[in-house]
C-alpha cells in the first residue's frame, strides 16, 4: 500500500516541479488511482462482471490572477510535459479574476487525523457473486408475487488521492467502499398484472459493517410488495410526510442553496438569509467532514484545507454557508473546508457528512398525527428551481387515513416552495441513520399541494 502512495506522491511533486519550471505563480496537482470489482446477478445467474484499475491526474496553474486546469490518464514524462505547457497556454488566454488563487499558505491543513476510511479487505468476483446471489434469493423468497428482478449488485472499490501545491502541501488519503443492492419486481396478477419495482441497498467503508445480504433482500422485497395496487388520489392540500430516503433530498436542496457558488452567482433561493430564521427552532443541520468512518469524510478538502464540523442551520437560523476558498472570497468569508475536486477541474463546493439532527418522535407516531395526508417514499424528476425555490416533483408513497397507511399511491406530484417547505417542518423523527453522505430522519411538512385526479 505504501508503495503506490509513495509513487503517486512522487508523481505529484514532480508535476509541481515541472509547473514551476514554466514560471507559474502557483499551482496545485491532484493525482488519483483506484481499483474496482463489481458484479450483477439476475435471477440467480451471473449477468455482469466488471473489473478495473485506473488512474488520472489533474493540474491547475496560476499566472497572476489567471488560471486553467487540465487532466490526463497518461503519466509518461512526454505527456506530462505537454500537459503542463498546454495548461500554461490556456491560463494565459483567460481573463484575470481578482478572487482566484490557492488558499493562503498558513491556512493549509496541518493535522491528518485517522478517520478510519480504509478497509484493506478485498473481495473476489466469486465472493461478490455469492453476496449478490444471497441478497436476491432472500428478496425472491419473501413473497410469491415477486417473480422477476432487475438484479442484485455487489461492488467493491478503493482509491488513493494525493494533493500537492506550490505552498509545499503534499498529502494523501486512501479510502474504500463496499456496496450491495437489490431491485426485485413484483407483479399483481390479481389486479390486472401491474408491475412495481423498488430496491434496498447498503454502502459502507468497511466490509464488516455491511448489512447482511438477507436483510437487504428482505427489505427490498417488502418495499416492492407494498407498492402493488397503487392508485392516484385527488388534487388537494394536505400534510406530507417524507420518509428518511426522500427527506434526504430536501436536505440536498438545502445544501445546494447554501453552496457558495450558487450564492455568489445569485442563483440560490437562500440569498441574503445568513443569520436569519428559515425553519422552526427545533431544526438543526450539520455538516461534519471528520465523522469517523463516514462516507463523506476526508482529512483535508479538495484544496488541502482541514475539514471540520460546520453547523449550517442552528435552531432554525441559517448559521453557515458551504464554501471553498474562491466562493468564500467572492462572498467575503473564509472557506468552510468544503472544497470538492474532480480531477482536472477547478474546486467546487460539496457537503461532507450532511445531516438533520433527529427529533424524539417515532415515524409511527408521526404518521399517527395525520388524519388525511401523503407519506412519500419515492420522488422522481427534476422539478426544483434553485433560484426561486419553486418545487414540483413526481411522488409515490402511501395515503394516510386516520393516522394509518391506508393504500399505496402513485402518479401524483407534490408542490410548494422550498422556503415555505422548510418553514413548515412540523415534526422531525427520531430515526436518523447514515446510509450515505447525507442523512435525514423522517420529516413532516404541515401542508403541500398534492396533484392527482
Amino acid at each position: 500500500m505504501t508503495d503506490s502512495s509513495d509513487h503517486l506522491r512522487q508523481v505529484a511533486a514532480d508535476l509541481i516541479k515541472r509547473a514551476k519550471a514554466h514560471g507559474v505563480t502557483s499551482a496545485d496537482v491532484l493525482v488519483a488511482e483506484g481499483d474496482s470489482v463489481s458484479v450483477q446477478v439476475r435471477l440467480s445467474a451471473v449477468d455482469r462482471l466488471s473489473k478495473a484499475r485506473e488512474k488520472s491526474l489533474g493540474i491547475r496553474v496560476f499566472f497572476g490572477k489567471r488560471s486553467a486546469s487540465t487532466s490526463t490518464s497518461d503519466f509518461t514524462p512526454k505527456s506530462l510535459d505537454q500537459l503542463v505547457a498546454d495548461t500554461c497556454t490556456l491560463a494565459k488566454a483567460v481573463a484575470e479574476d481578482e478572487s482566484s488563487g490557492l488558499p493562503d499558505a498558513e491556512a493549509m491543513a496541518s493535522d491528518h487525523p485517522d478517520l478510519d476510511l480504509f478497509d484493506p479487505t478485498t473481495l473476489t468476483m466469486d465472493e461478490e457473486i455469492s453476496l449478490a446471489r444471497r441478497a436476491e434469493d432472500a428478496a425472491m423468497a419473501v413473497d410469491a408475487r415477486i417473480t422477476n428482478s432487475e438484479g442484485a449488485d455487489c461492488g467493491y472499490g478503493n482509491g488513493l488521492v494525493v494533493l500537492a501545491n506550490t505552498h509545499g502541501f503534499l498529502d494523501s488519503h486512501r479510502s474504500s467502499r463496499f456496496s450491495l443492492s437489490v431491485t426485485p419486481i413484483a407483479v399483481d396478477e390479481e389486479n390486472g398484472g401491474g408491475m412495481q419495482r423498488d430496491s434496498w441497498y447498503a454502502v459502507k467503508r468497511k466490509f464488516s459493517e455491511l448489512d447482511t445480504p438477507e436483510s437487504i433482500g428482505q427489505i427490498a422485497a417488502q418495499r416492492t410488495i407494498r407498492r402493488l395496487g397503487a392508485k392516484k388520489v385527488s388534487t388537494q392540500r394536505v400534510p406530507v410526510i417524507f420518509d428518511t430516503e426522500t427527506a434526504e433530498s430536501l436536505l440536498g436542496h438545502l445544501a445546494s442553496g447554501v453552496s457558495g457558488y450558487a450564492l455568489y452567482k445569485g442563483a440560490s433561493f437562500l440569498m441574503g438569509q445568513l443569520g436569519k430564521r428559515i425553519a422552526p427552532d427545533f431544526v438543526s443541520v450539520e455538516d461534519d467532514g471528520r465523522m469517523v468512518g463516514g462516507l463523506g469524510s476526508r482529512p483535508f478538502d479538495g484544496e488541502g484545507l482541514a475539514t471540520r464540523k460546520n453547523i449550517i442551520l442552528e435552531n432554525g437560523v441559517l448559521s453557515s454557508y458551504l464554501l471553498d476558498t474562491y466562493s468564500g472570497r467572492k462572498l467575503g468569508m473564509p472557506s468552510t473546508g468544503n472544497a470538492a475536486r474532480s480531477i482536472g477541474e477547478n474546486p467546487s463546493v460539496s457537503t461532507t457528512n450532511f445531516f438533520l439532527r433527529p427529533g424524539t418522535t417515532s415515524p409511527k407516531d408521526i404518521i399517527a398525527s395525520v388524519k388525511q395526508g401523503l407519506y412519500v417514499t419515492e420522488l422522481i424528476g427534476f422539478g426544483v428551481n434553485m433560484v426561486t425555490g419553486d418545487y414540483s416533483r413526481g411522488a409515490s408513497g402511501f395515503w394516510i387515513e386516520n393516522g394509518e397507511l391506508a393504500y399505496p399511491v402513485e402518479e401524483v406530484t407534490i408542490a410548494g416552495n422550498l422556503k415555505q417547505i422548510y418553514e413548515q417542518i412540523e415534526v422531525i423523527g427520531n430515526d436518523l441513520e447514515f446510509r450515505g453522505r447525507m442523512a435525514s430522519p423522517t420529516v413532516k411538512i404541515a401542508q403541500m399541494t398534492v396533484a392527482g385526479n
Partner: protein
C-alpha cells in the same frame, strides 16, 4: 468532404495486439467479444460576471474488453493501451466463461468503409483557438445584457469534445469513427425588486465551430435565455390537477424520450421489467402518433455514423399509427431476443458497458395547424419548454418539468405560469394525443440521457401536440 480514416496507429497499437487479445477472450463458451478503444479530448470555457475565467481541458484514453456468453457479460477496462493491459482486461472479461485463455488470434479482416458521414467538419474542435471560444462567450454576455436592463447575471459555457473510437469484434470487424460534439449553454438571471427568476437556452450538435457564428446563433441563444428569465418575472402559480395540455414542438419531445423511449429499450423488455414488455403489436398511442428513433440525421447531437459496437445507425419505427412496432437494440439483446439489430448499442466511454440507448427520438408531423390545436383548448396549459424528465420503466410512470408554460384560456395563450411537473403513465399517455401539428421541430441540441449512471448525448423532436388529459403538478388547486 473526404472522410478521415481512423486506424490503430492513432492509439499506438498494432493489429497483432488486438487480434491476440481478441483470441485470448473469445474462447469456445464465449458467444461474442469486442474491444473498444477510445481517446477523447474535451475542452470547456465558461463565463460569469462578464469575464471568461474558467478554462479546462481533459485528455483520456483507454480500452474496454467485453465478452458475452448467453445472458452473461464480462467486462474490464484499462486506461493503459499496452499489450499487457489488454491481456489482463481480456482475461478478466473471459472470467464469465470459466475456461482457459484462447491461444488463436482472431483476424480482424472486415474493415468496412463507413456508409455514412453524418458530421463532416472542416476544422476539428481541438483546433479552435481558445481566443475564438472566449470571443463567442463575450458576445453572449453583451447580447444578453442588451436584451433587458433587468438581466443582472449572465453565465455561459462552451464545451467541445473530439472522440476517436475503434471497435474490434470477434466476428472480425474493425471499424472506427471520429465523433465531434459541442454545446453552447446560456443562463440568465433577471431581477425586479425581490423577484428573481432564471432562464436558460442552448444548442449544439456534431458540428463545427462556425455553426455558432452563423445565422446570429450566439445572439439568438443569449436573447432566448434572457427572454425566458424576463418572462418568468411575471409568472403566476401553476395550476394543479388533470387538464388538457398543448406541448410546443422541439425540446418538449422529451416526453417521448421518457414516456416511451426508455420503455422500448430492448434490455428492459428482454428482462420483462418494462411496462411495455407485453404490448408489441398492440395499440399504445392514438392513431395520429408515429414515433421513430433515428441515428442517421446529419449533424444532430444524438446521431452517430456507427454505434459503439460498430453497427451503422438506422432509423427505427417504434410506434406506427399508434401501434407498437419496434424495440431499440444492441447486439446482446438483439441476439437473445431474435430481433433486428438497430445500431443503438451505446456507452458513455471505455469505462462503461454497452447498453441499448436512444439516438434522436421524435414524432412525425401530423395534419393539424398549431394555432387550431391551441384554439381547441378551453382551459388548459401550453408548455413551450422543459427542464429534465425521469421515468420508472417498470410501472411506466414518468415526469417532466416545464420551464416555460402558459395558461390557455378560451383557446388563447394567456398568463405565463411557474414551472410545473407533468406526470403520467407511459403506456397510456399517447392514447390521449388527439391532435398532431404539421410543424415537426427537432430540439436545439442540448439533450443528455442518463441510464445506469452513464450519460450519452441524445436528441428529441416533436410537432405541436394536444394531450387531452394529463396531471399538472402546480400549487394552485382549481
Amino acid at each position: 468532404m473526404e472522410q478521415q480514416v481512423v486506424d490503430l496507429a492513432h492509439f499506438s497499437l498494432h493489429e497483432s495486439e488486438i487480434q491476440h487479445a481478441l483470441g485470448r477472450v473469445k474462447v469456445k463458451d464465449v458467444d461474442y467479444a469486442d474491444i473498444y478503444i477510445e481517446s477523447t479530448i474535451a475542452e470547456s470555457v465558461s463565463m460569469e460576471e462578464g469575464i471568461v475565467k474558467r478554462a479546462v481541458k481533459s485528455i483520456s484514453q483507454g480500452a474496454g474488453v467485453r465478452a458475452t456468453a448467453g445472458e452473461k457479460t464480462g467486462f474490464a477496462y484499462s486506461d493503459e493501451l499496452s499489450k499487457r493491459d489488454l491481456e489482463i482486461a481480456a482475461d478478466t472479461a473471459r472470467y464469465i466463461a470459466n475456461s482457459p485463455q484462447g491461444e488463436t488470434p482472431i483476424a480482424v479482416t472486415h474493415r468496412p468503409k463507413l456508409s455514412q458521414n453524418l458530421y463532416p467538419i472542416d476544422k476539428p474542435n481541438t483546433e479552435i483557438a481558445t481566443q475564438d471560444r472566449i470571443d463567442l462567450l463575450n458576445v453572449i454576455d453583451a447580447e444578453a445584457r442588451k436584451y433587458d436592463t433587468r438581466i443582472t447575471k449572465v453565465m455561459a459555457s462552451f464545451n467541445t469534445e473530439q472522440k476517436i473510437i475503434m471497435v474490434a469484434t470477434s466476428d472480425g470487424l474493425l471499424v472506427g469513427d471520429i465523433q465531434p460534439l459541442s454545446r453552447l449553454q446560456v443562463t440568465c438571471i433577471a431581477e425586479e425588486g425581490t423577484n428573481r427568476q432564471v432562464g436558460s437556452y442552448g444548442g449544439g450538435g456534431r458540428i463545427g465551430f462556425s455553426f455558432y457564428q452563423e445565422e446570429n446563433r450566439a445572439r439568438e441563444y443569449a436573447h432566448e435565455a434572457a427572454r425566458q428569465a424576463i418572462l418568468n418575472l411575471s409568472a403566476v402559480d401553476a395550476p394543479a390537477g388533470v387538464m388538457p395540455v398543448v406541448l410546443a414542438g422541439g425540446w418538449p419531445g422529451i416526453l417521448l424520450h421518457e414516456a416511451i423511449g426508455h420503455g422500448l429499450e430492448a434490455d428492459f423488455n428482454r428482462r420483462k421489467t418494462s411496462a411495455f414488455c407485453s404490448l408489441m403489436g398492440q395499440r399504445v398511442a392514438s392513431d395520429v402518433c408515429t414515433i421513430v428513433d433515428d441515428g442517421t440525421l446529419p449533424s444532430r447531437r444524438g446521431s452517430l455514423n456507427i454505434d459503439d459496437e460498430g453497427t451503422p445507425t438506422t432509423r427505427t419505427v417504434l410506434i406506427e399509427d399508434g401501434i407498437l412496432r419496434g424495440y431499440i437494440t444492441d447486439r446482446l439483446n438483439a441476439r437473445l431476443m431474435g430481433i433486428p439489430l438497430t445500431g443503438n448499442g451505446r456507452r458513455e466511454d471505455f469505462r462503461s458497458i454497452v447498453l441499448p440507448r436512444m439516438t434522436n427520438t421524435f414524432m412525425l408531423a401530423g395534419q393539424s395547424d398549431p394555432d387550431d390545436i391551441i384554439g381547441s383548448v378551453k382551459n388548459g396549459l401550453y408548455a413551450a419548454s422543459f427542464g429534465g424528465g425521469q421515468v420508472d420503466i417498470t410501472n411506466g410512470k414518468f415526469v417532466f418539468s416545464a420551464s416555460e408554460a402558459y395558461l390557455i384560456e378560451d383557446g388563447k395563450i394567456t398568463k405565463p405560469v411557474k414551472g410545473a411537473t407533468l406526470i403520467g403513465s407511459g403506456p397510456d399517455i399517447l392514447k390521449q394525443v388527439s391532435m398532431v401539428g404539421h410543424d415537426l421541430k427537432l430540439d436545439s441540441g442540448i439533450g443528455t440521457c442518463g441510464k445506469e449512471g452513464q450519460s450519452v448525448p441524445v436528441g428529441v423532436g416533436l410537432p405541436t401536440i394536444r394531450i387531452d388529459e394529463i396531471t399538472v403538478g402546480g400549487t394552485s388547486a382549481r
